[in-house]
Symmetry: C2
DNA sequence: TGTGCCTGAGACGTCGGATGTCTCGCACGA
DNA sequence: TCGTGCGAGACATCCGACGTCTCAGGCACA
């Protein structure tokens, strides 16, 4: 195995074993390189790779630190990966979302706060009846994110965030600009919100399923 | 932004835009570095980072290539990230799995082949009544992987594979060595298989839910 | 003519050092 | 006491050199 890959494994090992804890600072590059038995250049490749996936946080002039390792932070890397997928796999991602999002919405029904409900309502009101595609995409993302956050499961939240990344979402909406689709989407958002306000988990789940399935159906017909 | 990060973005851009397609070979390091306006060392940091998440495949003595970009390959990086999570988030991962796995199992009910069913049955028979913990973990992983693959959704498959990675699974089973848990797990596996053979999606979904929920419950009581 | 070995070119792997840039803490002066 | 300036420390970037590996093509042998 290459020395750089070894270094990646060793640093990973130090973190997983607990020798390095979240927030800890690593020895300076030259020292760490000497400890692990490689050159500073090669070590930097390892550190760079780990910082891309948010395991390490490198601050110029200061030092290198272990991140908080929050699921939210680590799964952020997921959206980077998702960006690489081609259009022909969008449907598969959407199918996964169709499984997760209704479940998350149902979970939120019993936990979401009144303030959060009001915030979601305000957000929908602000949008008006004839939003631009950009506004709609942003609103859609924000609406679902707000609900999923109330599910209380940060892994689920980050996962959905990654799967519904801006790129994927934008690609979908690019093909869905019919007036009919837009208004129906807004109507479904209101229905989901109403179900949440009623604390009706099953209704919330069903509306979320309908919502995503309709997007999926339109998308399938346009591909 | 650092030149290395710029390079990462530029290479990503070349792939996403289609200038570089799966399987394509990149210009040699020195040329690419010159094109992107940085040194070979810095470029190598970018390439290393992208190869860690399986976007690029570097072959010493040959060249650097774009990978197939299969969902399976890219989501493989997920398990690397999951390894970093501490015990207190295992329950959240398990909760996500409890959402995905029953859905995948239900999807498999209508698509799984007779050969696959026979293979799963053989696998369960081979295990016997008093397997070691290692055997049980391997069997459990293999059993569920086989079913999920039959769901026909490669994204779903890779995602579950990553979430149920060896590390997480091993950590779970370490705390579940009671005889009762083992035999009940085997019984549930057989029930899932029977439902699949009956092409009964709802029964398969329910057994899968029960199966994971029972693991979750035991785990929760031991933490 | 077909097969196998050998060799050389090309590409990545690794290294050491030099210099630039940034951050933080401390000392100094108002 | 507070704000500024300076210097040490750490990361950022680059350069050039050499090692190692892969692959393809030439050459010898059967």
């Amino acid at each position: 195995m290459a020395v750089t890959d070894e270094a990646i494994e060793k640093i990973k090992g130090m973190i997983v074993s607990g020798a390095l804890r979240p927030g800890d600072r690593l020895p300076k590059e030259s020292e760490l390189a000497a400890d692990l038995g490689l050159s500073r250049n090669s070590l930097r490749e390892a550190v760079r790779a780990l910082s891309l996936i948010r395991i390490l946080d490198v601050r110029q002039g200061d030092g290198t630190y272990v991140t908080s390792l929050d699921p939210q932070l680590l799964l952020e890397a997921l959206s980077f990966v998702v960006d690489f997928h081609r259009d022909d796999t969008v449907l598969e991602f959407l199918a996964v979302r169709r499984i997760l999002e209704p479940a998350a919405t149902a979970m939120a029904a019993s936990r979401i706060s009144e303030q959060q409900l009001d915030a979601l309502a305000n957000q929908l009101d602000k949008l008006g009846n004839a939003p631009s595609v950009e506004e709609l995409v942003a609103c859609d993302l924000e609406f679902h994110r707000g609900i999923v956050q109330s599910s209380g499961n940060s892994v689920l939240c980050s996962l959905l965030d990654g799967l519904s990344g801006p790129t994927t979402r934008a690609r979908i909406w690019r093909g869905l600009t019919q007036e009919d689709a837009v208004s129906r989407t807004l109507h479904e958002h209101r229905a989901i919100l109403a179900a949440l306000r009623d604390r009706d988990a099953e209704a919330a789940r069903s509306w979320a399923t309908v919502h995503i399935a309709s997007v999926e159906q339109w998308l399938r017909s346009t591909l």
